[in-house]
């Protein structure tokens, strides 16, 4: 667990209002990078590794252009496996979705996300999830 305000957070969200909201809220817990689609999220994820400053938390929207959240999640997990990163040290990923689509959410869990948050995001629940994931106290 990192100290307050020291987390590295990546938000991947195509909707302007949602990413502004998430970024404003999560900025209290660390430095937030914002990407607008899955491809950008992957680029940011790899760049962070190249600079030895990996993210602690990624919030991935399921419905995104270019590369959707599920495919992005799968690619991130594949890259981590290739790098030989232990399961406990993998980035924590919370999927965000406006969908009441249990298949998508189940698919995301099978692919390796830690949690999901339905939109509109309930910030209290999000904090609870981050606590459960040992990202904050």
């Amino acid at each position: 667990m990192k100290g307050a305000n020291t987390m590295r957070i990546l938000i991947a969200e195509d909707d302007l209002a949602s990413r502004k909201f998430l970024s404003k809220f999560l900025s209290a817990y660390g430095e937030c990078d914002i990407t607008i689609d899955g491809m950008e999220a992957l680029e940011a994820f790899m760049m962070a590794w190249d600079e030895a400053k990996p993210y602690d938390l990624i919030c991935l929207d399921i419905m995104m252009p270019e590369l959707d959240g599920i495919k992005t999640l799968k690619t991130i997990r594949d890259i981590e496996s290739q790098k030989g990163i232990e399961e406990s040290k993998r980035v924590k990923i919370i999927m965000t979705t406006a969908l009441n689509d249990t298949d998508s959410v189940l698919g995301a869990f099978e692919t390796g996300c830690e949690a999901y948050a339905a939109k509109p995001i309930d910030t209290k629940k999000l904090v609870e999830v981050m606590k459960k994931l040992c990202l904050i106290h």
């Binding site: 970024s23 950008e40 680029e43 940011a44 760049m47």
Partner: protein, 115 residues
């Protein structure tokens, strides 16, 4: 007497060089686009136009991806990320890196053309 062997090393090398020159020439319009967007980006920084900075940085990123200018792409992506965080000072630092990497990239292409 000289013996010319089809596919010899010299011939292949010359073909490769010719292709490289053609390739670098074909990229001239894209390089011009990047240069223009770098100027626009500079103007946006001077006007503290955050939306303009993000827009021009994004265009440069797309073009540099097309021409495999990975160092330019990486630097300009950092400009985008910094500006989305609202950190104009950090974005300005990365902008310097963009211009430097673009200069290096163009120099490498020129070397191919002159070789």
């Amino acid at each position: 007497m000289t013996v010319k062997v089809k596919g010899s090393n010299n011939e292949n090398e010359s073909k490769t060089n010719k292709l490289m020159v053609e390739y670098s020439k074909s990229m001239e319009p894209l390089l011009k686009d990047i240069a223009e967007n770098i100027n626009e980006l500079k103007c946006s920084f001077e006007k503290v136009d955050l939306a303009g900075i993000e827009r021009h940085a994004h265009v440069i990123k797309k073009i540099s991806s097309k021409i495999s200018a990975s160092a330019v792409k990486s630097a300009v992506f950092k400009v985008e990320l910094a500006i989305r965080r609202g950190n104009i000072a950090e974005a300005a630092e990365y902008f310097k890196l963009v211009t430097k990497e673009f200069y290096i990239y163009k120099k490498q292409l020129k070397n191919y053309e002159n070789s």
